[in-house]
Symmetry: C2
Subunit: 410 residues, 2 copies
């Protein structure tokens, strides 16, 4: 008798973003005439930049000629891309990460979920609350947790609340934890971590032989030079941290699919006898057994992000979104909202008014202003009463949406 | 303390194909002047067809224009591609599979490995021997097995030997099994399954409430109309089988990455109480939580395979490879080898001479003829003494390789 992985039954109904999509579709069908401004799913809106499109096209043409056609590529990614990443993202910033420690993939969502497979189910996972839902959901699917309690917490996961009380900076867990998901710049709160805060985490991981799973998908949006863009800017992190990066938000690759994960050769995990083992070969084995590499033309497109022209174009794209964030933060404040983040991250985290619940605020905003955001409670119990606005939108839409919100709440 | 998933320690050294790559690289470095003919990894050699390249390019251009740019797509795949697959691969052949039962992915290798996540570890997995190594390796990684015995079999997996004695047709397992991996046309043996044989499996699965994981990655190479190209040609299969298909070999997508998995709404698995549950929602949840969809331009390229021109081009590509297979089979026979398969599949399965071991034969062929094939033992213990030749090669290379083999073994 074929048995189901019953851990799936523990998961809460829909994954957040499909649920938002469903409510928006239903509203749009009922109100075909109403304009809807989407600032919800955090999907980019600007097209691929010219240098990226050119490299992408050229690689497609290569695939159409016998002499330049390429079949299976290296599962870990082509050297040309891994080299470009190592040099531009790390070595040029004084961080010693060789190309060989970089694994190219089709998305950070996939990597942050799949990485759990190489770690045992006895590990205690720590995650912030609120946070990107994939960390908790994949921990549940893997069987590392018990049921979900009435408080919205899965037993077995150590949650680290991030609220106004602790200025959205999580305390170190009192319990001993083994795998720690951190996301900076933070999704959904738009907050960033200082060197001092990250150093505290690296020390905790070192002292407890834990591993930090560091999601840096939004690092490109950091403009403050004092804020670390990589966990490896912290001494000792190369022994205790895995870093996840993506081209999705940086270069508009959400529909193109390219990301990468860094696993330094110096990173170790342990067997039940306490003997240490390098983690990189395990991920290499998983990667080469369950993955077949990223589409070749996509890897060429990603490589072009690091050309001189590509860098200029990417800078402009990021500046555009960050100007959106500044406008949103200013206008939300003007409308009387407490708004956080949005300075080194493309998300603004706003407190709803009169303690309105996140989903009620979502429905009110959708129905009365035609604006779609993301309910904070979808990111965890501590997100209740908050709302995420994404800066990935058209400038005129941002201005229009903010005008409508001001009119609605003033 | 971060603990490793120790199931990984059970795995045998390298995954087969990286090991072949390593030996070939080492030989090439030592003998830079020697020509090497690759018929090993089973990677396609013909370029993408013109209609595929055009659709691919056009979609890349769309991504470069604001008005036609697309970000995140549906995780399950765009409707345009799922519809094209449903109509052309199934409905036009009288098989009732709706687009909604099709999940587009970046590879069958990924899907056949990842599918295990939605099933409990108590399931007993049955696989043929020899077979594509990913089925066993991912079963081990998932923790569904014990250690690997001296016979090369992992305890907990039920192996079904395929040898000359049973004409390479596996017997039904005597033990009760829950998940059954079948691959037809077969990799590595190039054999196919008749309707009668598949009906026997569907009956077994129905009687035992088991699920068949049917890998049909090579269905396009079937020319004999009496041979089923889909498990769903068998009555009742829609209740007990998942089918995996790929564009890799059919349309030369090994470096482009696009495949799909069919999970009929009528397929059920069970909880420990024996209550049945539809499998499709579980895979949908996994897919939307751990995957972000296939690159949009890649999905447009795959759609073009089903255009009238695309169909003609694909037919020609397949005919080219199958002519290679016919030449290989004829010449290997002329060289005194017992050769199997190669008629409705792109692989020829040859018995080595004088009971030479598969890897010895590999080394001899590489060093003395510069020809790379795949050692049968790499696909399982029953593959020992056999060798796989791939028809995915240049015609002149095939003829040259066969000439060298004849010279070497006559």
């Amino acid at each position: 008798m074929a048995l189901i992985n019953e851990n799936y039954f523990k998961l809460k109904a829909g994954y957040l973003f499909p649920e938002i999509g469903k409510r928006v579709r239903e509203f749009a069908e009922k109100n075909p005439e109403k304009k809807i401004i989407r600032m919800g799913i955090g999907d980019v809106t600007l097209p691929l930049s010219p240098s990226v499109v050119k490299a992408f096209r050229d690689a497609v043409d290569e695939m159409g000629r016998k002499e330049s056609f390429r079949g299976y590529g290296p599962e870990q990614g082509y050297a040309f891309l891994r080299e470009a990443i190592a040099v531009n993202e790390y070595q040029n910033r004084g961080i010693n990460i060789p190309a060989d420690d970089i694994f190219v993939s089709d998305g950070s969502k996939c990597d942050t979920g799949n990485i759990q497979e190489i770690f045992g189910n006895e590990n205690v996972v720590a995650i912030c609350d609120p946070i990107y839902p994939v960390y908790a959901d994949t921990t549940v699917m893997a069987g590392k947790t018990g049921e979900c309690g009435p408080n919205g917490y899965f037993s077995g996961i150590v949650y680290m609340p991030c609220t106004e009380n602790n200025n959205f900076v999580p305390d170190l867990p009192k319990e001993k934890v083994d795998l720690i998901f951190l996301c900076y710049p933070n999704n959904p709160m738009g907050t960033v971590a200082t060197k001092k805060e990250l150093a505290r985490w690296v020390k905790y991981a070192t002292d407890n032989r834990a591993i930090i799973l560091f999601d840096a998908a939004y690092e490109a949006f950091i403009s403050d030079p004092s804020i670390p863009r990589s966990i490896y800017e912290i001494e000792g992190a190369e022994k205790v941290a895995i870093e996840f990066r993506s081209f999705s938000k940086t270069a508009g690759f959400t529909g193109v699919r390219c990301a990468y994960t860094v696993i330094p050769s110096t990173l170790v995990a342990y067997d039940t006898q306490g003997k240490s083992h390098p983690v990189k070969p395990l991920w290499a084995r998983r990667h080469s057994t369950k993955f077949n590499g990223v589409s070749y033309p996509v890897q060429r497109a990603a490589e072009a992000v690091y050309s001189e022209q590509g860098k200029r174009e990417t800078k402009e794209i990021i500046a555009y979104y960050m100007e959106n964030a500044a406008i949103m933060k200013r206008e939300l404040a003007a409308a009387g909202f407490k708004a956080f983040g949005g300075e080194n991250a493309p998300y603004v985290w706003a407190k709803t008014k009169n303690n309105m619940k996140s989903w009620d605020f979502f429905d009110k905003l959708l129905k009365e202003a035609g604006v779609v955001g993301t309910p904070g409670s979808g990111f965890g119990p501590s997100g209740e009463g908050y709302f995420r606005f994404s800066a990935f939108a058209d400038r005129t839409d941002v201005i229009e949406a903010m005008g409508k919100i001001k009119a609605l709440f003033k």
